[in-house]
Symmetry: C2
Subunit: 215 residues, 2 copies
DNA sequence: GTCTATATGCCGATAGAC
DNA sequence: GTCTATCGGCATATAGAC
């Protein structure tokens, strides 16, 4: 048995290549040909190992999104049960952090995972029905748990307002995840400062937005 | 002369159909065949009138995005010159409103424009290079003006932080523009309340995020 | 300006040899 | 499990009749 995410098998070579090409070109824009060429395997291998291009997409989600959502869920459930025990309200920012921090950590530590993160950042808005459907299927229980936790953190907020704000926050998150901003920063004549962390900036922004009482 | 955005000419029938199909399926996912069929014109008409599929995309942006950005720009420039005259700082929320309100208004008043809005909401994150490049080309001066106006509204904020927060805000905006949330609302068991305006909710969220001093 | 017919090419998927 | 060869389909784009 091998618990590494990737090894040198044909299957994993295809998964690695697909992750990277999907991230760059989207699901529809990526051809099985391009994927197998990058992986250095025969074009027929995708159908042999994954049945279809869609099957390959599902395998990618199995490999990365399931473990990622497991981490997120455990942290959020921990926050919820601790709040229940102490009869307090969870803090909005900690709930959001529990969702987002594992994503950033995966991006930094797991080689190749940054392609996956970029891909799901945009799968969320991907016009291709197949990609969106697969992605939403994998995300549904996670989204419900996040919504519940934010409900607990902001118990007096009308549910529809909470829902919309969660949409806004997820839009900000998804857009941040897809691709890096280095080029855009330069285009605005801004020098990047490595002291500031995108994670903390995003959490501040989201938390303020979620909790806003701005008039 | 005819100053309506759309009439019954072949050209406009194609633009209307393309707008709607691009919105649903993205640029790559939309075929010229599907567009001409929906428009009720011959398949060769796209190349005759617009040279290519990409030319068609550019014509769509010409028709909608240029006038929309003109409205946005005029309002933002008005805010900037008024602030200069009165030696005050523009208000963040009013700058954001000047950018977003014309979008919402276009969506409500111009028939068919809601397809365009949904499309640009996602063109922003569209993995297809062609669509993203065309869109960004049309948006560049607009983005720079918006950044300048927010700089004026938040003069003490470090430029890199301002830049990132603008990215977050645009992510929230783009995600909100693409498609309607009715289905998702129902999936969360939330009854939609027409009294609350997505525009105001979004502006509150964005303004709080932009101005956040949350620790 | 609109049509048919077609050129040319890439797509996902598979059959069948090894 | 990996290969070659190929199928059938759909894509964009165009040539040329009307």
């Amino acid at each position: 048995m091998n618990d590494r995410v990737s090894d040198d098998s044909t299957k994993d070579r295809i998964l690695d290549a697909a992750e990277s090409i999907f991230a760059e070109k989207g699901f529809k824009g990526s051809s099985v040909r391009a994927i197998t060429e990058k992986a250095g395997v025969n074009i027929a291998a995708v159908n042999y190992h994954f049945s279809s291009k869609t099957g390959l997409l599902e395998a990618i989600c199995d490999r990365r999104l399931i473990p990622l959502n497991k981490l997120r869920s455990e942290r959020i459930k921990g926050i919820l049960s601790e709040a229940e025990k102490s009869k307090t309200t969870p803090r909005t920012k900690e709930v959001l952090r529990a969702f987002i921090e594992p994503t950033m950590k995966l991006k930094e530590t797991e080689p190749g995972a940054k392609d996956f993160i970029a891909f799901i950042g945009r799968a969320f808005n991907d016009p291709d029905g197949t990609a969106r459907d697969v992605f939403l299927k994998f995300m549904k229980p996670m989204a419900e748990l996040l919504y519940r936790a934010l409900s607990a953190a902001l118990p007096d907020m009308p549910k529809e307002l909470l829902f919309w704000r969660l949409q806004f926050a997820m839009g900000a998150f998804g857009h941040t995840m897809q691709g890096d901003m280095t080029g855009a920063l330069k285009a605005f004549g801004i020098e990047a400062d490595t002291k500031v962390s995108p994670l903390e900036m995003l959490l501040d922004f989201m938390t303020a937005g979620m909790e806003s009482t701005y008039k």
